[in-house]
């Protein structure tokens, strides 16, 4: 395995309540650069919780997490926002585009937030990404008026716009019909072949079967790691 891009050590997470419930138990995990990893498990096994935790959105945990050589555990809210913006790309089950904006604007927003490139350069990059996804013809449409499959492709393009170190996906095909599921599969495989690091949570075994490594979770623990 080459240099790890993400390293998690002994992660514990509790849901507070009258009887605190431990949702993640001593998770230790390392992801190498360019790996395509899927996390599978039954609903309620903690796989989504793990993803939110690894993606730095959730900061309420015990243990250590480093991404791209930066220890993100203990960083402040603003530093984490900045970090996510630059290093992590998100794809969700419910694509979550901003409905008032056009497709192009939706894709450009994370890059505008990062502010490393000029608006023109960002627009050019966004157009390239859209071409790769085959959605360049709908660039100026309001994103609220797209089909589910189109929306998910826009969301993927948006996740890629800042060339993140790692792409995190939460059930990216969970809400799609079979044709669009196939399209999204193919895009993820293509991205993987281009050398992107991908961490995806799924309950779709077909999708998982094509990944480099499958992490299976049961009751908050990693039970098996299959290398393929």
């Amino acid at each position: 395995m080459n240099t790890p891009i993400l390293q998690a050590q002994h992660l514990d997470k509790f849901f507070p309540g009258p009887e605190p419930f431990q949702v993640l138990k001593d998770i230790t995990l390392s992801i190498g650069k360019g790996e395509f990893i899927t996390i599978i498990g039954k609903s309620g096994c903690g796989k989504s919780s793990l993803l939110y935790l690894l993606s730095t959105l959730d900061t309420d945990y015990k243990g250590n997490l480093s991404i791209n050589g930066t220890r993100v555990t203990g960083l402040g809210e603003r530093a984490l926002s900045r970090f996510r913006n630059e290093h992590i790309g998100f794809v969700f089950q419910f694509h979550y585009l901003l409905p008032e904006f056009t497709v192009l604007q939706n894709i450009m927003i994370p890059a505008l937030r990062l502010g490393k490139l000029s608006r023109e350069a960002i627009e050019a990059q966004a157009m390239t990404k859209m071409k790769e996804m085959g959605i360049d013809d709908i660039a100026s449409k309001p994103s609220g008026k797209l089909s589910g499959g189109q929306q998910q492709r826009v969301a993927i393009a948006r996740a890629l716009i800042n060339n993140p170190g790692i792409i995190m996906a939460d059930e990216p095909t969970g809400n799609l019909d079979s044709i669009n599921t196939k399209i999204v599969f193919d895009i993820f495989h293509a991205l993987s072949r281009q050398g992107n690091t991908i961490l995806a949570v799924t309950h779709d075994r077909d999708f998982a079967a094509h990944s480099d490594r499958i992490i299976e979770m049961v009751d908050g623990r990693i039970t098996a790691k299959h290398s393929q």
């Binding site: 959105l57 603003r78 926002s81 996510r84 913006n85 969700f92 901003l98 939460d170």
Partner: protein, 420 residues
Amino acid sequence: MKLPVNFMISGTQLLSRKKQSLIAMLGVMFGIAMFIFMISFMKGVNKFIEDTMLAAIPDIHLYNDIRTDYNHSVAASWLRQDPSKVIVVRHPRPSRIHLNLKDPYRIIADLKATPEVAVVSPLSSTQVFFNYGPVQLNGVLDGVDIYAEDRIFDLGKKMVSGAPEDLLTTDKGILLGQGLADKLNVIKGDLITLASPAGAVMRFRVAGTFSFGMSAVDNIKAYTTLSGVQQLLGKDHDYITDIRVRLRDLTQAKSTAVLLGRKYGYKSEDWETTNPSIKTGNMIRDTLTWVVSITLLTVAGFGIYNIMNMVISSKMKDIAILKAQGFSGKDILQIFLSQSLVIGVLGAIFGLGLGYALSYGMSRVPFPQGEITSLKYFPVVFETRHYLLGAAFGVLTTFVAGVMPARKAGRVDPVAILRS
């Protein structure tokens, strides 16, 4: 680049729900417009009342208050041969009262040399009966230096017939209040008979009539020369009962009055003290204006608060996704607060415009013409200060109303939203 992207998001969201934004903006607009309208109108009324009242009132009035000196008693001087005796006189009867000022010309000369003082007008005043045929009216005769009086009260503009100077060119001339002249049914040139309280009678020729626009003055007052009054009363030319002063700066009246009173040893009253109703009326109107304006703006603020709360509730997913993509709580706060502020600033601008239009309209509405009011239109003042204040209030209200929902938005936990 960080600010523009937040503002781009804010602007797009604002435009995507034009109706809501417009309604929130209208709330602020009406609040500010009413504030401007009310304050312009109320200040106009205040100014009108002050102007009319002050036209008949000097800034400072120096006179000899009725104040009998009981230190000297006939009984005391008779009995004080034995210093061991204590003399108590119960319920003494006043002897002589002097209403005039001692050495008035020294005081007048001294006042004229005082830098704060603009005009000094000496007065010799007495109660009189005006007789014309069978008509007999009670009134006040003021003997004045007509030039000084003209400068202090702008008499020339208040003359209905004749001119102030006619007083000097007519033998034993008299200027009558218009109401008084009407009741006596005299016109310029008529001879009338005046009787002093002591019973002296003198004939005067009407040299003109004047109107201050206040019946309290116009129905009882008449002007003649100082020497006219002094003759009627049988006093020498030092007999001066009051000195009226016009100051360069009206606001200095209170403090200057105190100084002058102490300096000359006579009662010295400023216009605020003699006419507390002006100040009280102003204060009540001002308070009313503020209370109504603040209520309106608060209601507008609640409107913004409600709308922004609704917007944020419906945008929870967008907030979560923005946060996931690297927007911090501060960015989110900025996005939503700037929307409130845009609503507030636009509302304030349009509100100022509408307020100006309403005020201008009001200032062109003819005032119902009474017998004595000199008002042609409703009184309205236009002051930049009020507009700046209105704008500041509008923006402040929207800021306060917008900051609470925006902070709530900034604190949204993306995990809680994405998980559901």
